[in-house]
Amino acid sequence: MKVSTIWQRQLCYAGQLQQCGDEVEFLGEKQIITVVPTFNSPVLHLISGDVGPFRAGLPTNVPMWLAVQLKQRQQGKIQAPDWMDIDRLTEMKENEKQSQTFTKMPSDHYMVEAKILLDCASDDIPRADEIRTIIKDIWDIRMSKIRTSVNKLIKNADSYAGLDNLTVMEINSIRPILPHALDQIYRIKASKKLRVPSQNSTTFHTSSRPSTSFSS
């Protein structure tokens, strides 16, 4: 019936790992951050675009990966993004708690930014520890909403969901479990009529209206 070879293992088990945090981080490191340099330098012609000129004491915008470099070499201080502020974050947290749906985050990579900047520049960011806690709170509130939504999604066996306002790292957090579970539900549904003569075997019909948006 079936020929098995050494290839089997490789083929069957190809792919159980997922995009890991590091790769989402990689994309997030492009976010533009303001630094205050402690040195002078003319414009740097990076492939991704020009940065600078750098004048000691004058704030300049650079990609986050560069900001981190400068900070680590003590060639600059990092300015926290506007939203990394206790009052704004407290308000965000309240809104997130009140809202049934996911609120819009100030940055599509808020968690990556928070993590990287608070890790490498906690001395430049006022009240860094409080900020860290409150961002983690927001993350946790959103995570628990995600869990509820995912459960609902699977219960209804929906074939579609809207995930507006979820950030990349949050989406990454339900990978691979959610898509994989939906794949299997799809397989069970799709194999329903296989090999069965067109006799009506339906006692169970799953509708999949595009209704249960995540945010509903």
């Binding site: 740097l44 492939i47 579609y160 969901a161 995930l163 397989r187 799953t206 595009p210």
Partner: protein, 225 residues
């Protein structure tokens, strides 16, 4: 495919190359998008070698310039860091494609043959096609070798049932423009002709079966996330 076919493929490959004026930053963006798309799409996507070549050109040019800088120059390490990041991007993209080619080689070659016959653009680049054929050849030799040990095994059966990507796997996507009436593939065959439809607003983030959006993805109307 025979040798003549390969040559023809190479020709059509060259013809499909288009000249477009882009900034390096735009090229990087395209590369990032292609990388993430390739990572999450179950099947191999049409290759973006023009983007890869363009970016590699930028990288090579930069590296050449860097050689003239003294290694103590702080600018050098920053440029080097950027180059390393971009290299990672390109190689991860190429690697993902190679992995798909290895996994689905028979299936992919069959599809490429069909595309070739119907004069469509190929999904694999010249080098990838060569790689695919080598893998296919090695596999065939492996099986031929096995059969000589165990005569009577159904030799061609594995070719007729190649390993295929699961086109219905669920993917996360972001819509790059308003798209109307996307047919939701939910696996139920019963509802023929009355499938559910959905509209994507620009910027909407969606979880849906890949088969519903494969066309949109290749057109560039949506991107995977």
């Amino acid at each position: 495919m025979d040798e003549a076919a390969i040559e023809e493929l190479e020709l059509s490959d060259a013809e499909s190359f288009e000249e477009v004026q882009l900034t390096a930053a735009q090229v990087i963006e395209m590369m990032e998008e292609a990388w993430v798309n390739e990572k999450f799409a179950p099947e191999i996507l049409p290759h973006k070698m023009e983007v890869v070549d363009c970016l590699l050109g930028q990288i090579a040019y930069m590296e050449e310039n860097l050689q003239s800088l003294p290694s103590t120059d702080f600018k050098k390490s920053i440029h080097q860091l950027e180059v390393d990041r971009l290299r990672f991007l390109v190689s991860s993209y190429l690697r993902t494609r190679l992995e798909k080619i290895e996994t689905y080689v028979t299936h992919i070659l069959k599809q490429e043959q069909q595309r070739h016959e119907s004069k469509e653009d190929l999904y694999l680049s010249k080098q990838e096609l060569k790689f695919a054929k080598e893998i296919a050849e090695a596999l065939k030799q492996n099986f031929d070798g096995l059969v000589s040990f165990y005569p009577g095994l159904p030799l061609e059966e594995w070719v007729s049932q190649p390993v295929q990507p699961n086109m219905h796997s669920f993917v996360f996507l972001k819509s790059k423009k308003d798209v109307n009436e996307v047919v939701i593939d939910d696996g139920s065959i019963a509802t023929e002709g009355e499938s559910d439809l959905v509209d994507f607003r620009e910027g909407a983030q969606i979880l849906i079966a890949y088969s519903s959006v494969a066309g949109l993805l290749k057109k560039g109307d949506v991107k995977l996330i």
